[in-house]
């Protein structure tokens, strides 16, 4: 059974005003098959945590560690992390000019598996996953994220999640900007991926909306770069009612 452990993680970024501390000691353990929701106000550092797990070069790890089945993830390149079984569904997926979705998916799958997927079954899998996510066939021949609407980009992220079959996936505000129909479709995709592969999920969200469709086993409240409180699904209900206010006082800005 796989496990992803984040231990006392401190992360900063360089800004024009100098080094800025964002994560201030994050501890979190996710087992395969578990769904953890991370909820927190804007600016609390949720995306920073997501990007740090994926290895974005902008984020500087001051101390701490991230272990995937005991192996130090922080020592791996971005692509090696993906090949080791980590996946990040991005909050703002970028456009890739000149690369079609089809070509991209096949290249990524080949990179992750270490060999090209058998053509017949692969084409079938891609078609099925696109149908499930109510994505028009024409998407396959469009350039990755180019001219996609917000909702289409998010579906495209989940499409990759379903096809690349990671051990652990971090979903960074996949729900934001989705209308309720799209939210349901995307949530179904995530639930399907979990049912099929038993992956562990770190679901980052600002609102409780998506938790109606994807049921977390654990909820962590993220404030000011660390986990301020954790509990079961009932904690999400409480946040729904009370908001984040009680975590924000006293303010320790600066």
């Amino acid at each position: 059974m796989s496990v992803l452990e984040i231990k006392d993680l401190h992360v900063s970024v360089e800004t024009d005003q100098g080094t800025k501390q964002i994560l201030r000691g994050v501890d979190l353990t996710i087992n395969e098959g578990e769904i953890h929701a991370i909820m927190g106000p804007n600016g609390s550092g949720k995306s920073t945590l997501a990007y740090t797990i994926a290895g974005h070069p902008k984020y500087h790890v001051e101390s701490g560690s991230i272990l995937l089945d005991g192996a130090e993830v922080l020592k791996m390149t971005v692509d090696a992390r993906a090949r080791a079984g980590l996946f990040l569904a991005m909050q703002y997926p970028v456009e890739i000019p000149g690369v079609t979705v089809t070509n991209f998916l096949r290249t990524a799958k080949t990179a992750i598996e270490g060999e090209a997927p058998p053509i017949r079954t692969w084409i079938k899998d891609v078609r099925q996953a696109m149908t499930d996510l109510r994505m028009d066939k024409a998407f396959a021949e469009r350039n990755v994220n180019e001219g996609f609407s917000g909702g289409e980009k998010k579906r495209n992220e989940i499409l990759q999640l379903e096809l690349l079959k990671p051990k652990f996936a971090v979903l960074d505000e996949t729900d934001s900007g989705l209308d309720v129909d799209a939210l349901k479709i995307v949530s179904e995709g995530v639930n399907r991926a979990k049912a099929n592969t038993g992956l562990g999920l770190l679901l980052i969200t600002h609102y409780t909306r998506i938790l109606r469709y994807i049921h977390p086993d654990f909820v962590h409240v993220f404030v000011n770069g660390r986990i301020a409180e954790q509990g079961g699904p009932e904690l999400a209900d409480r946040l729904e009612d009370e908001g984040y206010d009680r975590f924000l006082v006293p303010s320790n800005v600066g």
Binding site: P57, R81, R83, I96, P97, G98, V99, T107, A108, A111
Partner: protein, 415 residues
Amino acid sequence: MSAASALSKSASKTVPAPSKPAADSSTLPPGQHGIKEHSDGRFGYVPVQTRSDRFKSVNVADFEAVTGREAVWKHSPVAKFTDLTAGDLDGSRYPVESTPSADISVEWVPRTDARIGTAGLPEERAAASAWSVFDDALAITVSGEEAKEIVVTRSGLGNNARGAHTIIEAKPFSQATVILENTGDARLTENLEIILGESANLTVVSLQEWDDSAVHLANHFASVGRDARLKHVVVSLGGSIVRVNPSVRLAGTGSDTLLLGLYFADAGQHLEQQVYVFHDAPKSRSRVNYKGALQGQDARTVWIGDVLIGNRAAGTDSYEQNRNLVLTEGTRADSIPNLEIETGDIVGAGHASATGRFDDEQLFYLQARGITEEEARRLVVRGFLTEVVQQIGSPELEARLQLAIEAELIGTDDK
């Protein structure tokens, strides 16, 4: 294609395409990813005269010394090839090799050959210099209705300043692909005339794979006869300064041209193409599609696309586009489409120009899906340029170009 300005059945007399130097890639705002579309703007340059009114002469003395301020020279590093615009040029024959092909002759013909000057005349001093000095012209004459291919190679031009003249004639109803391969060193200014008789179907590929030091200034003049079809492809990969300016007159009713371009500029390279399509006959059709990649410090590309739909050209259909992919910092891509329409009766006329940047966020995205950095670059560049490569229609050449493009990518990685 949000930037495509499509005019149809326009009643206006003259419509210069709103133009601006679309994308100086080095000034893209940070954080902009993907394609930057050319957008219509009030500033920038608008043609001062109808393109067909430009001064033409075969006599070099009729042109002032080149200063670099002229419209045709202002994007080029003119100080680096004064020998080709002002100096003494060697106009003698040079070594040429060609693959054997029945129905295609390759021979030297005298200046008095009747075909010379029928497809076009120089509009600038380097072209006129070449025209003034060549002893004999290389003539490639295509006949026979079956499809065939010939490769004509120049590899031993050396580094003395030369002027040259070439004719490619496709007889009525003939069909062929002519691949002009340029390798080795060169300091060359030249004119190439391409003459298509009625219903001829000709593909001309000009392949610039020069050594790093080469300077090559070329003007291609094509005249396309009734119902004839010209596919013209410019591939510029090697050389220090390479400027290939194709100019096509759709002279016969129903004539058709597809102008393709593919270029990959790496550090310090200047690759330029000024493309001109003159619709001078009814029901003529043109498509222009140039794509370029830039990688490395001071990699520089220029694309100017002029389309003129003349008053004789009723019922024409035209579309031109240029796209550039910027792979690193320190490059500059200029992309300037111009469209002039002198008739109210057109089926379609449009243009698009865009410069997109491959940046760290894209790299991160691809890597986050398990793809290595090297593979990510290859994926993006190949994807971007393939559209043009695939339209060339010569499988062997297409395969070779895919490899050449990958070599370009790796070549600069080492620098």
